[in-house]
């Protein structure tokens, strides 16, 4: 078994303008994903808006300097993640392929294998 971090990306403007019905449908889709994945889900969370992010990329006088905003300044932002356990990449793709963000304009997920300790 291996662990994969599934990073969920999308356009926040799309996310912010979801109607209540769209939001409910999305929650239901994540619920269905969780049901299908079952114990393959090791962890996961939805993230607050990218505008609330703080990045640290330099040091002054031995102290990290906080800057406002997400690390990469892109239109598509990281909105959430899952940590999955799967036997191989095909299994991870089959699971993550159920996520609703893949069907959104500008949305998608990135699957990154985790270094085994």
């Amino acid at each position: 078994m291996a662990k994969y971090l599934v990073l969920i990306y999308g356009d926040e403007q799309v996310w912010d303008t979801h109607s209540p019905q769209e939001l409910a449908a999305k929650h239901a889709a994540h619920g269905a994903f969780a049901q299908a994945a079952g114990s393959a889900i090791v962890g996961g969370a939805q993230l607050q808006a990218a505008a609330t992010a703080t990045s640290l990329r330099s040091v002054e006088n031995g102290r990290a300097v906080p800057t406002d905003g997400p690390f990469p300044e892109t239109k598509e932002v990281l909105g959430g993640f899952y940590l999955l356990e799967a036997p191989d990449l095909d299994a991870a793709v089959a699971l993550a392929g159920r996520l609703p963000e893949i069907r959104e304009a500008g949305g998608g997920v990135e699957i990154r294998p985790v270094v085994e300790q």
């Binding site: 291996a2 036997p87 191989d88 990449l89 095909d90 793709v93 699957i111 294998p113």
Partner: protein, 423 residues
């Protein structure tokens, strides 16, 4: 070449993929398997000279490579290897039967052509691991520096191991899509070899030969897949014309002017039989229709008596199946033959605004040919010149240069002989 060297060269062409694929099962590591397979071929050089060529060279090489792998795995040095083991679908299970769906060569090709790898990586790995080309040869084929190609191959192998791309034949549900990816890679290898995009030579036989070998292998392992039969047919029928596409002086000869008596009749017969089989599938696949078009050309005694209505009909089917501006271009050329050059030009007209064809030299060349046929000299010259700026292959450029001279001569001829034959 002495018989032993010849037998080894034969076994390299015919058995490399099988030897490697069976060794991967033992090592669960592509690099180590490659090393062991190479060792086996080196040992064959010594042992076959001493003891004679074995009755089944492939089986001999596989056994030696696998024994070497088992041997190395026992040693400590291999334990320091950096990459995790490949995921085998049936690790510890029974040995798969060679031939058919369980054959390890299928696992190897589906791993090399896995959709999580870039197309460039798929092609490089396929040539390296299945066709047995050296990294230097793969680099030369794609005109990239050897260190670049080596890095590309290393990166791809690392991704297979680290992301755990499985060494597995896809399930029946996934199979059609995954076979499609394999066929695209094989087709790309062939077309790259068939008309090299740049460089001095038009045909690179190490690529065309490798692609045909791959298509034969996949066809033998998946005999029921009509798409595979279609691609194999297409490659065989194209290959049948290989020797007539360029003159001994290295000049390009168009289909219209090729010496058909020198086409390879055996390949045409084999390809045509496969087309019939591939077309029984409904709906026909893209490669089957492309092969059928090539077969119609192969069966015509000369260019003028080609069954153009049949060709146009097949292009209509192909365009519906696989909408693609290049297919539309070829269809326009065929219409130009069936209904005359004006009809061809009319069919080309909408393609001039097609962004995908904006830098496609064959569009300019096809248009130039039609303009030439209707005697619109200045426009024909302009189009040939445009094609010259877009086409990088020396043989094709030479062809276009000669066309320019022909058109200029026709333009300046005070007593035009009338329309060219064939228009």
């Amino acid at each position: 070449m002495d018989p032993v060297a010849e037998a080894i060269a034969d076994a390299h062409r015919g058995e490399w993929a099988a030897v490697l694929a069976a060794t991967v099962r033992v090592t669960r590591d592509l690099d180590l398997a490659e090393e062991c397979a190479q060792d086996a071929y080196l040992r064959a050089l010594v042992v076959w000279r001493r003891d004679g060529i074995p009755r089944r060279p492939g089986a001999w090489l596989t056994t030696v490579a696998r024994n070497r792998a088992t041997d190395l795995l026992r040693r400590e040095t291999v334990l320091r290897r950096a990459l995790p083991l490949l995921v085998l679908d049936d690790a510890g299970g029974a040995e798969p039967e060679p031939g058919g769906i369980g054959d390890d060569r299928l696992r190897l090709i589906f791993t090399c052509c896995h959709p999580a790898l870039s197309r460039a990586a798929q092609v490089a790995l396929t040539l390296r691991l299945l066709c047995g080309l050296s990294t230097a040869e793969v680099a030369r084929a794609f005109l990239v520096p050897e260190p670049t190609m080596a890095a590309r191959i290393t990166r791809a192998k690392k991704k297979i191991a680290v992301a755990r791309i499985p060494y597995r034949v896809p399930s029946a549900a996934e199979l059609p899509e995954r076979v499609g990816a394999v066929l695209e890679v094989v087709h790309l290898v062939y077309t790259t070899g068939h008309a090299a995009p740049v460089g001095e030579r038009l045909v690179r036989t190490e690529l065309t030969g490798g692609a045909i070998g791959l298509a034969r292998m996949v066809h033998a392992l998946l005999p029921g897949a009509a798409e595979v039969a279609g691609l194999l047919a297409l490659l065989l029928l194209s290959e049948a014309r290989r020797d007539t596409r360029v003159t001994p002086e290295g000049r390009l000869v168009l289909l219209a002017e090729q010496d058909r008596s020198r086409w390879d009749a055996a390949l045409i017969a084999e390809g045509s039989a496969l087309v019939v089989r591939a077309l029984t599938n409904r709906p026909p696949t893209r490669y089957a229709v492309q092969a059928a078009i090539t077969a119609v050309h192969a069966e015509a005694p000369d260019w003028a008596s080609t069954d153009w209505p049949e060709i146009c009909g097949l292009y209509d089917v192909l365009l519906a199946l696989w909408p693609n501006p290049v297919v539309a271009l070829n269809r326009a050329v065929a219409l130009g033959m069936r209904d005359g050059p004006e009809a061809g030009l009319a069919a080309l007209e909408p393609l001039l605004a097609e962004p995908a064809l904006a830098t496609y030299g064959y569009l300019s060349a096809a248009r130039a040919e039609l303009l030439h046929r209707v005697g619109r000299w200045e426009e024909a010259l302009w189009s040939y010149q445009e094609a010259l700026t877009l086409i990088g292959n020396a043989v094709e450029r030479d062809f276009l240069e000669r066309k320019l001279i022909e058109v200029r001569a026709a333009r300046d001829d005070p007593n035009p002989p009338g329309r060219r034959a064939g228009s």
